[in-house]
Amino acid sequence: MTLSSMNPGDVATIVSIHTDEALHQRLLAMGFRVGKHIELIRKARFSGPLQVRIGTTDILLRKIEAEKIMVQA
C-alpha cells in the first residue's frame, strides 16, 4: 500500500520510493530509506499534508508525494 493510505497511529516499513530524482534525494536526506520504520502521526484537513515520523525526525509531506512511497504494515 502507499504511505498516503495509512491511518494516523499506523506504523509500517518503507518498501520502495517511486519519485523523480530531485525528490528522491530530498527524501533520502530526510531519512526515507527502504527498510526504515515509518509512523503516520496525523493528516491535515481538506486533503492537506501528512505528518510522519522516521526515527527522531518528524516530516511534513503532501499527499501527492506520499502516494509515490510504498509501505508494508
Binding site: L28, R42, A44, R45, G48, T56, T57, I59, L60
Partner: protein
C-alpha cells in the same frame, strides 16, 4: 585571510552558532561562482583574523535544490581553509549521511554536534571520542544556544587552522553517487558510538501538537495567534514609529532647518523635503522591522511556522503557494516591507517570487490611514465601516487573483517536504540578533534607493521653481494633466493624480499631499473633498490606492530581495494595470447603474 565555511542541514542551529561566533560583526556579500549574497563575519582567532561564511542549510551534497547548488558552486570556487560541519545531535542517525558525503571531498573539517542539551534530554548518548576515531575527523558536542562545549570547539578550530588545507579534488563530481557505501558506513558508525532510546520521550511537543494541529481547533488557534501577533506589532510599533517621526521632525525644526536657512529657498526645500524626508522615511521603518522580526523569530524558532504550513497547505497549494506564504501575506497587513523580507524562509526561488508578487496587495497600516480619512469624509458613519471591510475583501481578492494567474509562471521546483522540529523557545539573544541583522540588511540594501525616490518626487512636485508646490503648473501637475485621458475613465481628477504620484513614496503622505494640493487640512480638507468628489469617485480612488504599488520602500525591498530589476518592474506594472482595471470596472459599472 583564512576562510571558515559553516555547513549543515537546515534546523541544526547553524545560524545561532554563526551569531555566537561573529557577534554582530557580520555583513552580506558576494562570492565568486554564486549569484546569491551570503552572510559572513571576520573575527580574531588566536593571533589572526579569519572570515567565517554562513552557507545555506542543505540536506544533501548532490541535491537539486537551489541552496544545494549554491553550496556546491561556492565550495568549488572558494575552497575554505576549514569547513565547520554542524549536525543536529538529536537527528544524528540521518544527518551523518551529509557528513560522509562531505568527507569524500577531502576538505579540512571539524564536526560540531549541536543541540547536545536536547539530545541528552531525549536520552540519546553520543560518544564523540569514539565517533571521532571511527571517522578520522575531530568531533565535538556543543550547544550553540546556551554555549556549553563552545570554548573547546573554538580551541580546536584555532588549532586546526594552523595547518595548510588539502585542495579539493577535481574529481569531486564523479565521486558523488556513492549512497550504497554511505549507507553501510553510517550503520557502522552509529552502532559503535550512538545509542538512541527505542521510544522518544519528548512529550511536550506531542502534547502541544495535539492542540496546535488539532483537526478542528488547529485553524482557529492559528488565526488567533496571527491576530495577536498582528495586534502586538501594531500596539508596540505605532507609538515607536510616531516617536521616530517626532524625533526627526523635532531635529528638523531645531537643528537642520536653522542650519540651512542661509541657502536659497529651492535648495533648502530639496535638502529638507527631499533628502531629509527620505532619510526620515527610511528611519520610520526601522522600529517596525525590529518588532516584526522579534516576533517572527518566536514564530519561526519555536517551530510554529512549520505547523502553520501544515494547517494552511491544503488551501494555499491550490494557489501555487504554501502555508508559509500565507503567514507572510497576513503579516503584510501590518507592513509589506518586513513581510517581503520574511519570505526568505522559503528556499525555493519561484515560490518566493510568487509570494513577493502577492504580498504588496495586503492592505497595510499606511493605506488604512488614507482609507479611514476618505471614508470618514465621504461616507456616512454607518457606511464607512462597510467601505473599509469591502477594501479588505478587495485586498484578499487581488492577492488570490494574482497568485492564480501567475502560478504557472512560477512553478515550484522545491518539493514540499518539510521538517517539523520540536517546539523550542528562542533565547532573547537569538531574537535580538535576528532583529538587528534584518534592520542592518534593510538599511544596507534599501536606504539609498528610498532617499533617491523621495528626492525625485520632490523635484516632480516642486519644479519648475516658478510654480506653486504640488500645483497644476509643476511637472507632476503637467504629468497629471497628460495622464488625464487615462485617469478620467476611472473618475480620478488631475488633483488626485498628483496625490497618487506622491503616494508612490509612501501612503502615509497621501493625505498630507492632498492638504498641500487643496491648500486646506483636517476638517476643512474633508469638507472640500466632499464637495468636489462624489462617493463613486472617492471609492474608485481608494481602490486604485489599495492596489497600485504600496510605497517606494516596498519597491526597494522587492528589488533587493528578488535581486532582479526586471521582477521589480513587472510587479509595478502588474499592480498598476490591475489597479486601473478594477477601478475602471467599478467606476463604469457604478455610473452605468446611475450612481
Amino acid at each position: 585571510m583564512k576562510k571558515i565555511a559553516l555547513l549543515g542541514m537546515p534546523n541544526t542551529g547553524k545560524s545561532t552558532l554563526f551569531n555566537r561566533l561573529t557577534g554582530s560583526a557580520s555583513r552580506v556579500g558576494n562570492w565568486p561562482g554564486i549569484t546569491v549574497e551570503l552572510l559572513s563575519g571576520k573575527i580574531l582567532l588566536g593571533s589572526e583574523m579569519v572570515e567565517i561564511i554562513d552557507l545555506p542549510g542543505i540536506y544533501d551534497m548532490h541535491g537539486f535544490s537551489e541552496d544545494e547548488q549554491v553550496v556546491r558552486h561556492f565550495l568549488h570556487d572558494n575552497v575554505p581553509d576549514l569547513a565547520l560541519i554542524i549536525l543536529n545531535a538529536t537527528q544524528i542517525e540521518r544527518q551523518l549521511s551529509l557528513l560522509l558525503q562531505l568527507k569524500q571531498f577531502n576538505l579540512n573539517m571539524i564536526v560540531l554536534l549541536n543541540m547536545a542539551d536536547e539530545a541528552k534530554k531525549l536520552g540519546i548518548t553520543i560518544d564523540a571520542a569514539k565517533m571521532s576515531a571511527a571517522m578520522g575527523i575531530p568531533i565535538f558536542l556543543l550547544s550553540a544556544k546556551y554555549g556549553s562545549g563552545y570554548p573547546e570547539a573554538l580551541q580546536a578550530i584555532t588549532k586546526t587552522l594552523r595547518y595548510s588545507t588539502p585542495g579539493m579534488p577535481e574529481t569531486l563530481r564523479s565521486q558523488l553517487e556513492q549512497d550504497e557505501h554511505i549507507e553501510h558506513e553510517m550503520a557502522r558508525i552509529l552502532q559503535q558510538s550512538v545509542q538512541i532510546p527505542a521510544r522518544l520521550s519528548d512529550n511536550l511537543t506531542t502534547r502541544l501538537d495535539s492542540f496546535m494541529l488539532h483537526p478542528w481547533l488547529g485553524l482557529p488557534i492559528f488565526f488567533g495567534i496571527m491576530y495577536l501577533l498582528f495586534q502586538a506589532i501594531f500596539f508596540f510599533g505605532q507609538p515607536l514609529q510616531a516617536g521616530v517621526n517626532e524625533t526627526f521632525g523635532w531635529l528638523r525644526e531645531a537643528a537642520i532647518a536653522p542650519l540651512l536657512s542661509s541657502l536659497p529657498a529651492a535648495l533648502q526645500g530639496l535638502l529638507l523635503d527631499g533628502v531629509y524626508n527620505g532619510i526620515a522615511t527610511v528611519a520610520a521603518f526601522v522600529p517596525l522591522i525590529v518588532l516584526f522580526f522579534l516576533f517572527m523569530a518566536i514564530v519561526e524558532d519555536t517551530g510554529y511556522l512549520s505547523r502553520a504550513a501544515f494547517l494552511m497547505d491544503a488551501l494555499m497549494s491550490r494557489m501555487g503557494l504554501d502555508g508559509r506564504s500565507f503567514v507572510m501575506l497576513l503579516m503584510g497587513f501590518g507592513c509589506n516591507v518586513p513581510a517581503l523580507m520574511g519570505t526568505r524562509v522559503m528556499r525555493s526561488r519561484s515560490l518566493r517570487l510568487l509570494s513577493m508578487l502577492v504580498i504588496p496587495f495586503s492592505l497595510c497600516s499606511a493605506r488604512l490611514q488614507v482609507f479611514v480619512f476618505i471614508s470618514a469624509a465621504l461616507f456616512s458613519p454607518k457606511a464607512a465601516p462597510l467601505v473599509l471591510f469591502s477594501l479588505y475583501l478587495f485586498s484578499f481578492a487581488s492577492a488570490i487573483l494574482t497568485a492564480m494567474l501567475f502560478k504557472r509562471f512560477y512553478p515550484n521546483s522545491e518539493p514540499f517536504v518539510l521538517e517539523l522540529p520540536p517546539y523550542r523557545f528562542p533565547t532573547l539573544r537569538q531574537m535580538v540578533m535576528r532583529g538587528w541583522h534584518e534592520v542592518y540588511q534593510f538599511l544596507h540594501r534599501a536606504s539609498k534607493f528610498i532617499v533617491a525616490g523621495v528626492v525625485l518626487v520632490w523635484l516632480l512636485t516642486n519644479l519648475p521653481t516658478s510654480a506653486a508646490p504640488a500645483s497644476a503648473d509643476t511637472w507632476a501637475g503637467i504629468l497629471g494633466a497628460w495622464l488625464h485621458p487615462l485617469f478620467a475613465p476611472i473618475g480620478i481628477t488631475p488633483d488626485l493624480t498628483i496625490a497618487l504620484i506622491f503616494g508612490f513614496v509612501a501612503k502615509e503622505i497621501v493625505i498630507g499631499s492632498l492638504a498641500v494640493i487643496y491648500g486646506l487640512s483636517g476638517q476643512a480638507l474633508s469638507g472640500a473633498m466632499a464637495l468636489q468628489l462624489d462617493w463613486v469617485q472617492a471609492y474608485s480612488f481608494m481602490l486604485f490606492t489599495l492596489i497600485y504599488t504600496p510605497c517606494l520602500t516596498t519597491i526597494a525591498t522587492l528589488r533587493k530581495e528578488s535581486n532582479s530589476a526586471g521582477f521589480m518592474w513587472f510587479s509595478i506594472a502588474w499592480s498598476l494595470a490591475l489597479a486601473w482595471l478594477l477601478s475602471f470596472a467599478f467606476y463604469q459599472v457604478a455610473r452605468a447603474l446611475g450612481y
